[in-house]
Amino acid sequence: MSAHNDIDRVSGRLTTGHEWDGIKELNTPLPRWWVLTFYATIIWAFGYWVVYPAWPLVSGYTTGVLHTTNRAAVTANLAQLEALRGEKMKALGTASLADIEKDPALLTLARARGKAVFGDNCAPCHGSGAAGAKGYPNLNDDDWLWGGSLDQIMQTIQFGARSGHAKTHEGQMLAFGKDGVLKPDEIVTVANYVRSLSGLSTRNGFDAAKGEKIFAENCVACHGDGGKGNQVMGAPNLTDKIWLYGSDEATLIETISQGRSGVMPAWEGRLDPATIKAMAVYVHSLGGGK
């Protein structure tokens, strides 16, 4: 650049001496603070290489003197979270289920914790509001296959039903049709009989006495006299207004023919004891608990 001292009149700055069609280029060097900051970042980068993982190698990477990893950071964060929740969750862990329900503070905590964990673990089957679906019980109502007291709910959550856990609830609706125990016309008859137990309409010309006989021979063992159900075996009450798989004739025929064996997983080992307690209290408080 040739020596010159051409000063722009408006801004009062030196120009570079370059001119295109009467437009001159101002000589505006980068501000010193900017340049210094830029140099500082370069120096910073060297420090970063030394301290943090930075360089990929053939079969690994440089770990840096701090040996920082994202996994370790997450673990530390989780530990911190646990420490933060520690006292409160400890209170949940030591209090009895009944005490938790009686203490407003603990009840609020258990419901909040239960609701969050329910959303993560139970909602896929039971729905986000625990309203259930066909084959998946509605936990808001008062119909319980395995019992609706606090302890019974907790036991079901802990060990599940037909889950394979050593202490799981066991119980089976046999496949009377598939296994050849009942003939198709007998299944139709007993299905209508079961409908009559809850006051539902029955098919024309259906033989109630025959239905009662088939029921007494095949079903009473589990569902009890009059079909009132048995919570020890997880056998549903057939006289109430709630049907897990549906109450229409076709569904009942399918149930009797094919059997049912829905599975509730065991949550012990997957969730910590305090959380299982919170969950039991939450489910119990939904409104159906006994």
């Binding site: 009149r9 408006v10 801004s11 700055r13 009840l107 309203a131 808001n140 109502d141 207004k241 409104g287």
Partner: protein, 486 residues
């Protein structure tokens, strides 16, 4: 470098002006008089209020904060003397902002930019820091001379002292700010022993920096380039509003004292302005008021004091510069008497609006309920069929007890026929009418179940009303929702 060219030089050219003129250093001169005294008084009042208010105590009873003005973010409460506001009453803030806007409009209609000149925090703190500058570095002439000369030890010491005092004031300003958000005496102790939360130090730092930079260094630049008010206020001003005005009908033609005396002795007309430039010397934004109304004028009235002092010395009547308007200027020129109309459509409308907003706020404040209930219906499922065929709906009820003591309330439900109410976790001795204890000054959230026998004949959706009654005081509150039958 920008210092090569001054705005004056730029204006002489025919090129377009740059968007921002480079800052030129202003050396406002000390002045005394009516408006200066008014400014000192208002400054003492504003700063005293700001610095001392958080230290004022107010007894609210056991367990409640005893600070008169407290913004308690962690507990979501705002205390202002006898008033305690909850988050859902934040709309009072809307009322206050509307009130502030109308008050500003009214001030503008009556006396122009009074806010800018006397009450604006930027003005108040800049004025204070200018006073410090005059005390440490001397008045206008001394400062100009010192800045032009070489740096001496004396000069350096004065500058260091000035900045030290500035930073102390700025730091105290930031410190007073955080006291509004926590119990002041204990926070002061915590701050001194470095036990206070980091956020307190961060805010003190931010406000120290902003006070020091804005009031100490940016000064009039804030008014000229950063503040939107001059633009808005200029639009609010009408021909009746009083503005700091140079009465050119009296001042022109400018001439020296001697020449003025001579002309008047001959019976000829001579202006009162002797072009002494005192009005410019004292101006904190360094404008010449004689050029007429302009953006840079913050209407602080210091030029009025300066001019009055000069007029007194030369034996001419005061208020050559004064609060005046165009209408009076024209009336004087036409030989009519001056008039001022503070009561006119604009001011009446503003005053009425202020009264209405005040009345609405007062009414809202006096009639605000100290017991309240909100209801939220379960979304999923909206209704549950029980084994006996009955229908149950779940609700989340939130109770608000704004009183400073625990109280017992009864919950009633009006809705579906034969409806039964049950509150989860509450075993009440009166099953149809559960009683619960509401903790003082808090919200309580409970799950409530309403069960009613199934009835084909009723509507699928019926209104349901939750009514709560304070057993002791008889206060009642209610909330309505719906009872859904699937």
């Amino acid at each position: 470098m920008t210092k090569n060219v001054t705005p004056k030089q730029l204006m002489s050219g025919d090129d377009d002006l740059p968007l921002y003129a480079p800052q030129k250093k202003i050396y406002p001169q000390r002045v005394s008089g009516t408006f200066r005294r008014a400014k000192w008084g208002l400054m003492a009042f504003c700063l005293g209020l700001y610095y001392l208010l958080p230290l004022l105590r107010w007894n609210r009873g056991l367990g409640a904060p005893d600070q008169a003005v407290l913004i308690d973010f962690p507990n979501q409460r705002f205390y202002f003397f006898f008033i305690e506001l909850w988050p859902q009453e934040i709309y009072y803030l809307t009322g206050l902002l509307i009130l502030a806007a109308f008050t500003l409009f009214l001030m503008n209609a009556l006396g122009g930019r009074i806010w800018c000149g006397y009450l604006c925090p930027q003005t108040v703190w800049t004025d204070l820091l200018y006073a410090v500058e005059r005390w440490t570095e001397g008045d206008r002439r001394a400062r100009i001379k010192a800045d032009a000369g070489p740096i001496t030890v004396n000069r350096l010491a004065r500058r260091v002292l000035k900045h030290a005092i500035w930073i102390t004031i700025a730091w105290w300003t930031g410190g007073a700010w955080v006291l509004y958000f926590s119990d002041a005496p204990s926070l002061v102790k915590d701050l001194a022993t470095f036990q206070a939360p980091a956020i307190a130090y961060i805010w003190i730092g931010i406000l120290t920096a902003s006070t020091y930079l804005l009031a100490g260094h940016a000064r009039e630049q804030v008014c000229l380039y950063m503040c939107p008010w001059p633009r808005i206020q200029a639009a609010l001003t009408d021909e009746w509003a009083l503005n700091v005005t140079y009465k050119y009908d009296r001042g022109e033609p400018r001439c020296s004292v001697k020449k003025g005396l001579h002309l008047r002795s001959l019976g000829e007309r001579a202006g009162d302005c002797i072009d002494c430039n005192q009005c410019v010397a004292v101006c904190p934004t360094s404008i010449d008021i004689r050029d007429g109304a302009q953006l840079g004028c913050i209407q602080c009235g210091l030029c009025i004091d300066a001019c009055d002092n000069v007029m007194r010395k030369i034996g001419r009547p005061a208020r050559l510069i004064g609060y005046d308007n165009d209408i009076n200027m024209q009336r004087r020129t036409a030989g009519k008497t001056e008039i001022y109309k503070p009561i006119r459509a604009r001011t009446v409308v503003y005053a009425s609006l202020i009264t209405v907003v005040c009345a609405v706020m007062l009414d809202a404040l006096l009639t605000r309920s100290l017991l309240d209930v909100n209801v939220l219906h379960d979304r999923n499922p909206v209704a549950v069929k029980l084994s006996n065929g009955a229908i149950r709906n779940g609700y989340t009820l939130r109770f608000l007890n704004k009183r400073g003591f625990d109280r017992v309330i009864a919950v009633d439900v009006d809705g579906p026929a034969n409806g039964q109410i049950h509150i989860v976790g509450v075993d009440s001795v009166t099953p149809d009418r559960p009683m619960i204890v509401l903790a003082r000054d808090a919200t309580t959230e409970l799950r409530v179940l309403v069960t009613a026998p199934f009835d084909e004949k009723v509507e699928k959706t019926q209104p349901v009303k939750f009514r709560i009654t304070d057993i002791g005081l008889g206060e009642v509150a209610s909330a309505t929702d719906h009872f859904v039958t699937p």
